[in-house]
């Protein structure tokens, strides 16, 4: 890493000499493998590798940024000077200087855990598994298409800053899944196999589980195509963790990003119904609602050693007993709530992109009471409800207040029993009303985490990878079915 340190010091020294009060450089190598199979064909997928660097500077109190794929001393000098020029141009319209909270200097190396390197697993083994899954799915009646996929992501990152940090990290993420499309008398429905994507190696790929679930997934696709449409009305909703992932992401995690709260994202993803004066006071949900932000969650997709400001990963509360107690911050935004340290939420998804505030893993705590209900208890206690598994349609307003969600599979619950599948279920909510009607949370035994690969934010748009965990939950009395034509 001596070579990397030398390159980094060229960047930092050049920037400082040119007038930057702060500078950092990220050199990253991004490697990606995707494999896709449709029915009995390996249709696509690719191997991807890019290498490059990005330099951020603060000049006259404003940010500049420049990036390049050419990792050489000469290009690093050129880009450092360009970053300073760009920052200087920004100061034309400065209201106030960028205020960074202090950070310790770290010289460290961190790596997400891995037992089996997915890039060393033979391609044939991966192809065979996906094609075997598809074959089993297509054998089932009424299944017209089967699709399966793998995505392995590796990022090597070297971060250095004028604060004195020199940090090397390796992050690995694995996504896998499959779906079956059923056609029953012209009604076409899809059912997906959901499994937790993780920061881990190939050891988490459970081929047996993937194959064993094909019959169920196919049968549920067909059942969904045959199911009666839900009657619009008000119902209790029982959310499995595989469904809660998106609801937590959209109306809790996004709503508590501090840069969004103060207006930085107004031009794209919007602001938030959460305002600074509500922190510590807002009743976000019922007393059962406890939410934690966590960049240290084992296997979490957003789990790192350090963020892209060089701040050490940490865990902190967002909601306790239903009250909003914290938000997500980084070095640039922490001062808005009077905090003296960043929570470590800066991230860029690629060397060429400008780092900014991105959500960490955000999870709903399970119910730790000794009499916490089991999923069977929750179902047995529900008179008129809908059980929802997996993710489907989703749409949320620009302040994360009005949302509409679908799912992947739905079951009618009547008088404490599951009576059959339902189709065309969507529910519309107002965030605080929704979580305010949370009246049952199962215990830690039923807690699962799922992750997302397409969290989009910023201009230009960058993606992010958060994990969201929850146990089974019940939300009372929600408006269902408003999306039908």
């Amino acid at each position: 890493m001596a070579e990397m340190r030398e390159l980094a010091e060229i960047a930092l020294n050049t920037a400082k000499k040119a007038g930057a009060s702060y500078a950092d450089i990220r050199i990253t190598r991004n490697i990606d493998q995707t494999i896709q199979a449709r029915d009995n064909i390996v249709t696509g997928g690719r191997d991807s590798e890019t290498y490059g660097f990005g330099i951020r500077t603060i000049v006259n109190g404003t940010w500049g940024f420049a990036s390049s794929p050419d990792v050489t001393p000469e290009e690093i000098k050129r880009i450092a000077l360009l970053s300073v020029d760009v920052g200087r141009a920004s100061s034309l319209s400065k209201k106030e200087d960028v205020k960074l909270t202090p950070v310790e200097a770290y010289v460290d190396k961190w790596s997400s855990p891995m037992k089996i390197d997915p890039f060393k697993v033979p391609l044939q083994e991966k192809y065979d598994l996906l094609l075997a899954i598809n074959e089993r799915l297509r054998k089932q009646p009424n299944i017209i298409r089967a699709q399966s996929n793998f995505n392995f992501i590796y990022e090597w990152k070297y971060f250095a800053s004028t604060e004195g940090s020199f940090i090397e990290q390796e992050i690995r993420r694995i996504f896998r899944g499959y779906s079956a499309i059923a056609n029953v008398n012209g009604v076409v429905k899809t059912r997906n196999y959901f499994v937790e994507p993780k920061c881990a190696g190939y050891e988490i790929v459970d081929a047996k589980d993937m194959l064993d679930n094909t019959e169920r997934v196919a049968a549920e696709a067909v059942a969904h195509a045959k199911a009666k449409r839900v009657q619009p009305g008000r119902y209790d909703l029982i959310l499995k963790p595989s469904h809660a992932v998106l609801t937590v992401h959209e109306i809790v995690a996004h709503a508590t990003e501090l840069d969004r709260i103060v207006g930085y994202e107004a031009n794209y993803a919007g602001t938030s119904f959460v305002t600074l004066d509500k922190i510590g006071k807002l009743k976000y949900g019922s007393k059962l609602f406890n939410v934690t932000a966590d960049r240290t969650l084992p296997g979490g997709l957003a789990t790192v050693g350090y963020d892209d400001d060089g701040v050490k990963a940490q865990k902190w509360p967002l909601i306790r007993d239903g009250i909003l107690v914290g938000v997500q911050t980084n070095r640039e935004t922490a001062h808005y709530i009077g905090e003296k340290e960043s929570r470590g939420c800066t991230f860029a998804n690629h060397w060429r992109n400008f780092p900014f505030l991105r959500m960490p893993n955000v999870t709903v705590e399970p119910n730790m009471a000794s009499n916490a209900p089991t999923p069977d208890d929750i179902i047995a206690d529900t008179k008129d409800g809908i059980l929802i598994d997996g993710t489907g349609s989703f749409s949320i307003d620009q302040q994360r207040y009005n949302g509409q969600f679908g799912g992947d599979a739905f079951w009618e619950v009547k008088n404490g029993k599951i009576t059959g599948h339902l189709a065309d279920v969507t529910y519309q909510l107002i965030t605080t009303d929704f979580w305010g009607n949370l009246d049952a949370v199962a215990g830690p035994k039923y807690w699962e985490s799922y992750g997302l690969g397409g969290d989009a934010k910023g201009q230009p748009i960058q993606t992010n990878y958060p994990t969201h965990g929850a146990s089974w939950m019940r939300i009372r009395n929600q408006n269902v079915g408003g999306a039908q034509l």
Binding site: T50, I144, G263, S393, P460
Partner: protein
């Protein structure tokens, strides 16, 4: 600085000469993407990104593999090709693989790069943004804007002599203006502007400011079905959800809205589904678009209609499905134009007894693709029209509806404007879309967020 055609050809030749694969297909995408972003009337990011990506597909018989790399040095390319060849040998045969497209191909002539835009640097962008910020400040409003500039090349080539090169320069301006109390929000944008001299930042800023002021302290009305006037920013986002239904294969396999239920293989091609006022076509050479004339696998983008006077005129065939069905492959879409009329927004307002003027749509997502049922929200200025006049600003709505229904219920179309089809800020997706006045649009619930 964007690479010139000869430089890209030379790079492609090095790749062809480095592999023993029977067929080679390459695409190159790269250049400089710069942008200035501000919020709360102060700059939050100013950036210059340089990048390029080579996508190399190698075929050995019916086996193929694809690799992406940003390495262009000999050693880097050699390794990327070696890995790709190995993957190709291991990948099972794909019966849907077609021989690569023979070159040369004739592309519609499009001159899309201009020096003035390429030279539009960080200082110039900052000055333009400052003009916009100053207007917001004078009006006591908070602006959040983004001004990206592209100097970019997309090129394709293959070992059968095909080569296509498209160099474009472009700027976009996207602006959201809010009142300091958070009770009003307005929006304006222009994108895919090839010559920076055409960027009218003052007009766009005044428009967004006017919307923010007019939308201040919105009032609630009941959800229901309404006559709507969709301004082009909203109309473009809405119409884009229709574009995916033209895929021939999913239609003919019974998996899409264009399929006829119960009649295997039959589609709605040739049927009149929409109002006869509706024509959606494509022409990358349109002077307001100057879009990429090179389509999938190097096929030329054709000037053609997808919907003509309400009738579905064409479906889109990829090369495998075209060969199977005895049709010509389509190459894809670029330079989308929805023909309009001569009505202005003011004409449409005057013609509305009771309805809604919609500035922007947000978070449109599919609910039921088989019906093209989507959901989304209004945003950045929603206004009640009564007896031909705007009477008050309204709280936003969530809607659930289908562009199939909305474009069947068209009452008037206005003059098309440049607009962005997709929820993104890149250069692609620029289209010409008119304001659309349509009846019976379903606003499902009140969305109080501003």
């Amino acid at each position: 600085m964007a690479l010139e055609s000869a430089q890209i050809k030379s790079l492609f030749d090095r790749i062809y000469n480095s592999t023993k694969a029977e067929e080679v297909q390459i695409s190159f995408s790269g250049g400089e993407r710069a942008g200035t972003r501000f919020a709360r009337n102060t700059f939050t990011a100013n950036l210059v990104e340089n990048d390029h990506l080579l996508t190399i597909t190698l075929r050995i018989g019916k086996r193929q593999a694809t690799t992406n790399t940003n390495k262009t040095d000999d050693e880097g390319l050699k390794q990327a090709i070696k890995d790709c060849e190995e993957r190709a040998r291991l990948t099972p045969e794909n019966p849907e693989v077609r021989p690569i497209v023979k070159g040369p191909q004739n592309y519609l002539p499009v001159q899309a790069s201009f020096k003035s835009t390429a030279d539009f640097g960080p200082k110039e962008r900052a000055e333009f943004c400052k003009q916009s910020i100053d207007i917001c400040e004078r009006k006591g409003l908070l602006g959040a804007g983004y001004l990206p500039r592209f100097d970019w090349v997309d090129a394709v080539g293959n070992s059968a002599g095909l080569f296509g090169y498209y160099h474009y320069t472009g700027v976009n301006y996207i602006l959201t203006v809010r009142t300091p109390d958070g009770l009003g929000s307005g929006h304006a944008r222009d994108n895919g502007i090839r010559k920076v001299e055409e960027l009218d930042i003052v007009r766009l800023t005044n428009r967004a400011c006017d919307k923010a002021e007019a939308s201040h302290k919105p009032q609630m009305i009941e959800p229901g079905k309404y006559t709507v006037i969709l301004e082009p920013v909203a109309a473009a986002r809405y119409v884009s959800s229709l574009l995916g239904v033209f895929d021939a294969r999913s239609a003919e396999e019974g998996r899409s809205f264009m399929s006829i239920p119960g009649k295997k293989g039959e589609t709605r091609l040739g049927q009149k589904i929409f109002s006869d006022k509706v024509t959606i076509r494509q022409d990358p050479t349109h002077p307001k678009l100057l879009s990429n004339p090179i389509g999938n696998e190097g096929l030329p983008i054709q000037k053609m209609s997808w919907i003509e006077n309400g009738v579905v005129k064409n479906l889109s065939y990829d090369r495998f499905w075209a060969a199977k069905q005895g049709k010509e492959p389509s190459g894809g879409t670029s330079g989308i134009i929805m023909d309009g009329g001569t009505a202005t927004i003011e004409d449409m307002i005057k013609a509305t007894k009771r309805g809604l003027l919609v500035t922007n749509f947000w978070y449109i997502r599919p609910v039921d693709p088989m019906k093209v049922l989507s959901t989304g929200l209004t945003r950045d200025g929603l206004f009640l029209i009564e007896n031909g006049k705007i009477t008050k600003p309204l709280m936003n709505f969530r809607w659930n509806d289908s562009p199939v229904i909305t474009l069947s219920n068209v009452m008037m179309l206005g003059i098309p404007e440049r607009a962005q089809l997709f929820e993104q800020f890149e250069d692609t997706g620029t289209a010409l879309i008119p304001p659309i006045m349509s009846e019976e649009f379903t606003m499902s619930s009140v969305a109080p967020g501003i």
